[in-house]
């Protein structure tokens, strides 16, 4: 808006100034375009490096079959002759673990964040509001390794002693050992980690709902909760979508915390196990990469890791882009002109 009209401002001064100005514009423009080059470079290089893993397995790469940890071990121990490299991999348990933990965590934290945001904007007493805002910033700033540390030293032992019974342990003993590190703990802590991002976006959006709309609803005799739910929440739906999408991107990439608390076993939790399902471990893609960072120099193993990274990179890029587009359309069409 403002910036666009500014670009029409005549460059004052003589030709000399004109040229400096042009040079500055070009330099800065090149710097900005470097961002795009960086993204293109990342996608191309990571994808190229990971390609052998995809080409050797075909679409079965995404499928299930056998123990993924065993397959990774075999890849790691490939013979040193490039012709004998082992690539066999069925990555389903890792993909499933990623999707499961991310999906459930984002679903929970969407509901939680919407409620918390409504509270912050509408219902919190002034004193409490002044406390909650820094609290949200703080929760967003705590490094993931600290969340992981608390998770593994406090939450995991608690789950192991209080939630895992002997019978549930026995019921799955033939496939997996339950020791407290589980998707339950992973999801719980992930919710705490991604909530602040969502709350920040949703609170901003709720604040931008014009007062008139709420006053109008209130004048019709609607109470404060209903006004929030039926007017404000409806109006900011794109912002909620954007928040959820951006939080998903963040959750996908969470590696350290999940590798500490979610078990670090390439296991696909089985929903048929009933409630024990949530106590079973898993290991998302990002954690797999961090856990195996030492093996990156083994050629076929490194290529497999880059294949994981390519999946993460492409999905998070799509999510970020979608979140950006949703937020942009929100500010442009819905509430931009208040």
């Amino acid at each position: 808006m403002e910036a666009a009209s500014l670009t029409d401002a005549p460059a004052a001064g003589g030709r000399e100034d004109d040229r400096t100005d042009r040079r500055v514009e070009l330099t800065l423009g090149a710097l900005a375009s470097a961002i795009l080059l960086l993204i293109a470079g990342m996608v191309i290089f990571v994808l190229l490096k990971g390609m052998p893993s995809f080409t050797h397995n075909g679409l079965a790469w995404f499928g299930a079959g056998g123990s993924v940890d065993e397959q990774l071990m075999n890849i790691f121990n490939s013979p040193s002759d490039p012709d004998d490299y082992v690539y066999h991999l069925r990555a389903w348990p890792l993909l499933y673990g990623t999707a499961l933990i991310t999906g459930v965590a984002v679903a929970f934290s969407t509901v939680f964040s919407v409620l918390a945001s409504i509270f912050v904007v509408e219902f919190a007493p002034r004193r409490l509001r002044q406390v909650i805002e820094p609290v949200v910033r703080l929760l967003a700033a705590v490094p993931s390794v600290i969340y992981g540390l608390i998770g593994i030293l406090v939450v995991v032992p608690w789950v192991a002693t209080h939630l895992i019974s002997e019978s549930s342990k026995e019921s799955v003993a033939y496939v997996i050992q339950l020791d407290g590190t589980s998707i339950l703990v992973g999801i719980f802590i992930l919710v705490i980690m991604i909530c602040p991002i969502m709350i920040a976006i949703i609170v901003d959006a709720l604040r931008s709902v014009p007062d008139k709309w709420i006053h109008g609803a209130r004048a019709l005799g609607v109470n404060r909760w209903r006004a929030m739910r039926t007017v404000s929440l409806r109006a900011i739906r794109p912002a909620i979508v954007a928040a959820a999408v951006l939080a998903t991107a963040r959750a996908l990439g969470e590696a350290i915390m999940l590798s500490m608390v979610a078990g670090s076993v390439g296991f696909a939790p089985n929903p048929l196990d009933g409630l024990t399902f949530f106590l079973e471990p898993a290991r998302p893609l990002a954690s797999t990469i961090v856990d195996n960072s030492e093996g990156l120099s083994v050629e076929p193993f490194g290529q497999t890791m880059y294949a994981f990274a390519a999946i993460l990179l492409i999905s998070s890029a799509f999510l970020s882009f979608a979140g950006w587009a949703a937020r942009r359309s929100f500010s442009r069409y819905t509430l931009g002109d208040r």
Binding site: A12, A32, D211, S316
Partner: protein, 321 residues
């Protein structure tokens, strides 16, 4: 421009609050209200628990000599060594990362707000920044490894016999860390530049300055606190990132400089985050006491940076009327 009515942000509701107590609401509405309260309060409880617990454990296990002694290898990790090197590592990495991120970030923000032509490219860059912000740091880390292990990048880390470039050093980790901090710097610089009203720029043009010198002499000085906010937020992100450190800084606990020019920067080391990770039960050290102590120091660093952000944004901005 929107005219702001003086008063607290929540004031618009003060008059509405009188219209009927919540006890007269339907059950569903009251449940909703209750859930909103629970969500809000539990946020505070969780944050208080984390900080309180870390402080309790941290103060219990933290000894002053830990801050000044280097990590040592020994059978019983809980007895030996401190985390002097990791603290220096965190400091070094943060400085390198932010020193790259500030000029690049400010440059991009200036281009986006002041030039932004062609418009299509500006939109693409804008979405690109979001994509970079959303890229997992693990991916950034192994992409960095890929780039810096190329032979011609040997200058930045060290080359083993046989010509293989190691790719892991403070410089390589710092460069990727700057990418982590970049979106923060760009975001708050743009916000600050957008807040400067048009007539300020026009006044500068009227005095015969061209756009480049207006940016340098008028706009950037006014946006200083925005830049500082972004830089501080970025430093918080850098200090808290673990994946890049684990993958790109090498696994050595102590700082191991390489020989030659800028040896320290080409060497490997550790930071507080990787130290905590390695000493947690998930890592090799498995000395929870030291992990708690280091995590407490790390939390203090992050809280301090958070506090600085608050201070900067509270400090009086130039007032445009």
């Amino acid at each position: 421009m929107k005219v702001r009515v003086p008063g607290r942000p929540g004031d618009r509701l003060a008059s509405l609050r009188r219209t009927g107590p919540a006890s007269a609401w339907s059950v569903g509405d009251r449940i909703g209200l209750g859930l909103a309260w629970i969500a809000g309060i539990s946020l505070c409880v969780v944050a208080a628990t984390i900080v309180g617990y870390m402080a309790w454990k941290g103060l219990q296990f933290l000894h002053l000599e830990m801050l000044t002694t280097s990590p040592e290898a020994s059978m019983d990790q809980s007895q030996s060594g401190g985390f002097f090197d990791p603290i220096i590592g965190t400091l070094l990495l943060t400085v390198i990362g932010i020193a790259i991120a500030i000029p690049v970030g400010v440059g991009i923000a200036v281009w986006l707000t002041e030039y932004g032509r062609p418009a299509g490219l500006a939109r693409a860059v804008e979405s690109g920044i979001e994509i970079v912000a959303g890229t997992p740091s693990v991916v950034l880390a192994i992409f960095g490894l890929l780039v810096f292990q190329q032979t011609f990048m040997g200058l930045f880390s060290f080359t083993a016999e046989g010509g293989a470039v190691f790719g892991r050093s403070f410089i390589t980790a710092g460069v990727m860390m700057s990418v982590v901090a970049l979106p923060m710097v760009i975001g708050s610089t743009r916000e600050a530049l957008n807040a400067i009203p048009r007539h300020v720029r026009e006044a500068s043009y009227a005095l015969g300055k061209d756009r480049a010198s207006t940016i340098r002499r008028v706009l950037l000085p006014s946006a200083r606190s925005g830049i500082a906010t972004g830089a501080t937020l970025g430093m918080g992100r850098i200090a808290g990132d673990t994946a890049i450190v684990v993958i790109l800084l090498g696994a050595s606990m102590t700082i191991t400089p390489e020989g030659g020019f800028l040896g320290l920067f080409r060497g490997t080391g550790s930071t507080l985050t990787s130290y905590v990770y390695n000493n947690s039960p998930a890592g090799e050290g498995n000395a929870p006491e030291k992990a708690y102590a280091a995590a407490f120091v790390l939390l203090l660093v992050v809280l301090f940076l958070n506090f600085v952000v608050g201070l900067i944004s509270k400090r009086s901005e130039p007032k445009w009327s």
